[in-house]
Symmetry: C2
Subunit: 88 residues, 2 copies
């Protein structure tokens, strides 16, 4: 069974993994979204949904197998968290 990831919330059926990120300025939000788009291309999976405004981005990851969240989604969630740490 996949382990929980800091601040990510399992939701719904089919299951998804959700987290809200907040930023001080639009430039930071934009940098995060650009880094996320690059990460998505690297891993070949785009988040099911990204909902953003000037200073926030809500990310929803879907279960790749359509049935349950696995280490694949949790690993991606951690890499998304890592964009914040490494990107400043």
């Amino acid at each position: 069974m996949a382990e929980p990831v800091n601040g990510w919330e399992a939701r719904g059926k089919p299951p998804t993994l959700f987290k809200r990120f907040e930023f001080a300025r639009y430039a930071e939000t934009r940098a995060f979204l650009d880094a996320l788009a690059e990460l998505a291309e690297q891993v070949g999976t785009h988040p099911q949904n990204i909902n953003f405004g000037s200073t926030y981005a809500n990310i929803t990851l879907e279960a790749g197998n359509g049935e349950s969240l696995t280490e694949t989604e949790y690993a991606l969630a951690r890499r998304i968290d890592g964009l914040i740490v490494s990107g400043g």
Copy 2:
């Protein structure tokens, strides 16, 4: 009074202007979002909310004066439409 714009829907209170754009592939969605971000920087106004997945982007523009939609929002809506036309 501001004129309506093709496919944009006035909503809510405070008023917003909403439109859904659909794309054949993620690459097209991404190109649209990148062009939209550049446009937002040019005009100095970011849409209130952008909600996107691999093949769609839902755009919400808010009334800049907080009270009613004006030509400012409709002009921005038309420029966003133009991103599709010019960006292919």
